[in-house]
């Protein structure tokens, strides 16, 4: 086989492989992705088997044994609060008023059942809000 033909064959094989892999990639990504939703969207859609990636602001939380239960509202703070039930690692920055991302589904009883260890808390913005708080603060004297 002359080198030119060999080269063309190699090129065709390589391109076909690349195309096949790209198609596999694209196909699996659309089926493996979890949609991002805000609490108001999830509430509006009602209970279902669909898994969502919920993004919102934490309002109120308490521990219930090994579970963490908290209410989550839309990022702008408004709208109805969605109760979330979560087990697993609670990231250190988790606090009321912080933005979180958690994956799970809306249960029949209206609670968002979260997947284990899926809670992500965004690092707090270092600007304005922290420094604008009360300038007087507690100093411990040993």
């Amino acid at each position: 086989m002359d080198p030119d033909r060999k080269r063309k064959i190699r090129l065709v094989v390589a391109l076909t492989a690349a195309v096949l892999l790209a198609v596999a990639l694209i196909y699996t990504s659309f089926s493996a992705g979890t949609e991002a939703r805000e609490p108001s969207d999830v509430l509006a859609a009602g209970p279902s088997d669909e898994t969502y990636q919920l993004t919102g602001e934490v309002k109120d939380y308490h521990r219930d044994g090994t579970d963490l239960r908290f209410d989550i509202t839309d990022r702008d703070g408004g709208g109805k609060a969605l109760p979330v039930s979560y087990t697993g690692v609670v990231p250190d920055p988790f606090r009321e008023g912080r933005e979180v991302i958690v994956t799970g589904r809306l249960d029949q009883d209206g609670t968002f059942m979260a997947e284990k260890d899926s809670l992500i808390t965004k690092c707090p913005s270092k600007f304005a809000d922290e420094a604008a708080a009360d300038p007087e603060h507690v100093v411990i004297d040993q």
């Binding site: 990504s29 992705g33 949609e35 250190d92 270092k126 507690v138 411990i140």
Partner: protein, 741 residues
């Protein structure tokens, strides 16, 4: 000081603009403008240095009249974190970028001051242009305060105390992580600038590569260290016990690392065979654009991520610059395609060139996969209207097989020769590694089994293959050298290494990366992890280990305003004591404290996990805990209530009396001590996560070995030896040349 820094930065912008213009004028041939532009870059470097010294002085002095200091530092912040707080902010990151860029630009222009007469002026213009962008973004912050990009902005009002550094970031690894990453990005700018110059002047031989090859390797080292530091911080500081989550910001630094690695290999093919010229210029332009994209992703809030700092005004200009770079490079490359095409072709598939080509395809393929997954929320939104994201399992599914193939070819590459290897020779080289792999296959199948994790099993096999292949390369090289020059094997090895730094340094890098991947595979696929709820005296079984909660621990730290509740854990195995771990949870009373509820303020402020771990070559024992403070709530509120009552009985005027303040502070201190004592006497149960991570330490060790290998490869051979070698060959060839004439 603030005035000096501001002035220096504004002057730097003017000088950078001049440098760009002068360099462009110099491209027409008048050397005076080229030399002037070079001096301008040196001056710009000096001016930015002045600005950096100014801002750091303000940090060290904790000058709260500067917004940057007030928002990211405080009087009680330790010195190291005062100095490194600069790059925790947007304005500080821009300054860091500009600073490293100016140093790198000055360095490369100095080193090439007598070379590449036609390319350097264009490269200078590009470097100056990028500098204008970053300094310009900062200076624009003066006129657009909402952008928060001006480092010397004044605080309004001046607070009595700074916000301090988030406790989560008070870790040496996190302190060095941003400068390492940014240095990586910046050092890729150098070969990019020279590539653009080479394209414009059509000087498309390998000269632009030769002068900037080392800068690309330095960039690679910085990026590798930066990525590893981020992973190390995550593992040592965060409560989830992992080191890589395929988070968008992590991926943003990984993608240019992958394309940069591909670039380092493919330029070797161009230097030797003149092939892959189009590929190389495209790859370096892409790597630079990806570095800008990495910077953009962290600061723009466009993707949901644990790191996203929210919408930032700096995002859109960065995106515009990326667009200009991508479109500009594409047009430039397309217009030079005729000069770039090479006539050379691959001699054989069994050659090092072919392996490098394959490795490039794998690396760029992996980069494309990671990029697709990272930007998928935006892609899916554009396609379906719904933003959908991909989690770690999807990335692992594609990254794992690609990584396995990469490790395999990291082993085959050293065994073949350039141009064409004799098959018999290849067989001789590959026999020992293949045998070792076969043995490993059987041993591993019998000990850990295949079905537990097929991908880990395969990775261990190819890792064995590659490490044995590299070791045999060292061995046979020494033998061959000794045959040539005699002496001992050790001396032969020594001279072999010093005369072939690039080759053997590269082999060491491969070994390091294989070790790192081994650590990753072993600790992910064979991890034992349990979440247990223990009270003092309780015991639990995690894998082979018995974990006993011995007793509670507390710490009070006045300087850091920190209260820590922890647990002492005793770990035994088969009855024998293995180690004692002390994980704890640290609560920081911060600026958001309520003066009427000092105790509650601790538990409303920042909290971090202090990881308790023991590392060894064979496994890490890792623990994090969180006490269940629900039973303490009553106690805390009761004490706070008593305190508030007592405080309210004091008339307002008296409250600001310093002596009274001192008594109040003492009272608060006493309350905290009482709470801590209560925790010891009547401790609540704790949620404990206990992980057994096999061989994870090899990840860190592997990175260190890889960086060591890269440093060895980069080290210049002394001028004398280089000349001697070339003289010998020159003489030999001259004889042949005369015969040919």
């Amino acid at each position: 000081m603030s005035a000096l820094g501001s002035a220096a930065l504004i002057a730097a912008l003017v000088v950078a603009v001049y440098a760009a213009v002068a360099a462009l004028i110099g491209t027409r041939g008048d050397r005076r403008w080229v030399v002037s532009a070079r001096r301008a870059i040196y001056a710009m470097c000096g001016l930015i240095l002045v600005a950096v010294i100014a801002i750091e002085t303000l940090f060290v002095r904790t000058d709260l009249s500067v917004a940057l200091v007030a928002d990211h530092s405080s009087t009680t912040t330790p010195l190291l974190y005062k100095l490194t707080a600069l790059w925790g902010s947007q304005a500080g990151s821009l300054m860091l970028w500009a600073f490293v860029l100016s140093i790198a630009s000055a360095a490369v222009l100095y080193l090439t001051r007598n070379r590449h007469r036609e390319v350097v002026p264009w490269a200078t213009a590009v470097l100056a242009g990028v500098a204008v962008f970053f300094i310009g973004l900062m200076v624009a912050g003066i006129f657009f305060p909402g952008a928060e990009s001006w480092p010397f902005a004044a605080s309004d009002p001046v607070p009595p105390e700074g916000a301090g550094l988030t406790p989560l970031l008070r870790h040496p690894a996190m302190a060095m992580h941003p400068p390492m990453l940014y240095s990586g990005y910046v050092f890729f700018t150098i070969p990019f600038a020279f590539a653009i110059g080479a394209l414009i002047t059509r000087r498309l031989d390998a000269s632009w590569i030769r002068s900037t090859r080392r800068f690309a390797l330095v960039a690679w080292i910085f990026l590798s260290v930066g990525l590893a530091l981020g992973a190390r911080w995550s593992y040592s500081e965060l409560g989830w016990g992992g080191y890589w989550a395929w988070d968008p910001v992590e991926n943003a630094a990984l993608i240019p690392w992958l394309t940069g690695t591909a670039f380092l290999h493919s330029i070797m093919v161009q230097e030797r065979r003149g092939m892959l010229r189009v590929w190389n210029v495209s790859l370096i332009c892409a790597t630079f654009a990806l570095s800008l994209l990495g910077t953009f992703l962290v600061r723009s809030g466009v993707l949901e991520s644990i790191h996203a700092f929210g919408e930032s005004k700096v995002g859109p200009p960065l995106l515009v610059l990326i667009g200009i770079v991508v479109i500009g490079s594409t047009i430039l490359i397309a217009s030079r395609l005729d000069s770039l095409r090479s006539e050379r072709r691959l001699d054989s598939l069994f050659s090092r060139e072919a392996i490098f080509l394959l490795n490039n395809v794998l690396l760029v393929g992996l980069a494309a996969v990671v990029a697709w997954g990272t930007f998928f929320p935006l892609i899916s939104e554009a396609v379906t209207g719904e933003s959908s994201s991909l989690a770690a399992p999807w990335f692992d599914r594609y990254a794992t097989p690609l990584a396995i193939f990469l490790v395999l070819f990291m082993g085959i590459g050293p065994l073949v020769a350039w141009r064409r290897v004799t098959l018999a020779g290849l067989w001789r080289a590959i026999a020992a590694p293949l045998l070792a792999t076969a043995v490993a296959a059987v041993v591993l199948a019998l000990t850990i089994g295949v079905s537990e994790s097929i991908s880990a099993y395969l990775l261990f096999l190819v890792a064995t293959f590659t490490i044995v292949a590299v070791v045999t390369e060292f061995w046979r090289g020494s033998v061959a050298r000794r045959r040539l020059v005699g002496g001992s094997y050790v001396a032969a090895l020594g001279s072999l290494l010093t005369r072939n730094r690039r080759r053997y340094g590269g082999y060491v890098v491969h070994v390091g990366l294989v070790l790192a991947l081994f650590g990753i595979a072993a600790s992910s696929s064979f991890q034992t992890s349990r979440d247990i709820r223990l009270s003092p005296g309780d015991q639990a079984q995690v894998g082979d280990y018995t974990v006993t909660y011995v007793k509670p621990t507390t710490t009070i730290d006045g300087t850091e305003q920190k209260l820590a509740f922890g647990a002492l854990l005793d770990v035994t195995r088969d009855g024998r004591h293995v180690t004692t771990l002390s994980p704890s949870r640290e609560y920081y009373s911060g600026e958001a404290a309520d003066p009427n509820a000092p105790l509650r303020s601790f538990f409303e402020g920042e909290a971090t996990s202090e990881v308790g771990k023991t590392e060894s070559f064979s496994r890490d024992l890792w623990s994090a805990m969180q006490p269940d403070l629900s039973s303490f709530d009553r106690v805390i509120d009761a004490k706070d209530q008593r305190y508030a009552d007592a405080l309210s009985k004091l008339p307002g005027a008296e409250q600001s009396d310093p002596q009274v303040q001192a008594v109040i502070a003492q009272a608060q201190g006493q309350m905290v001590r009482q709470l801590a004592d209560r925790y010891i006497v009547d401790p609540p149960p704790a949620e404990i996560r206990f992980n057994v991570n096999p061989f994870v330490v090899w990840f860190w060790l592997g990175v260190i070995v890889a960086v060591g290998g890269a440093l060895f490869a980069i080290w210049p051979t002394p001028e004398g030896r280089r000349r001697r070698v070339s003289d010998v060959y020159g003489a030999r060839l001259a004889r042949e040349l005369n015969r040919a004439r």
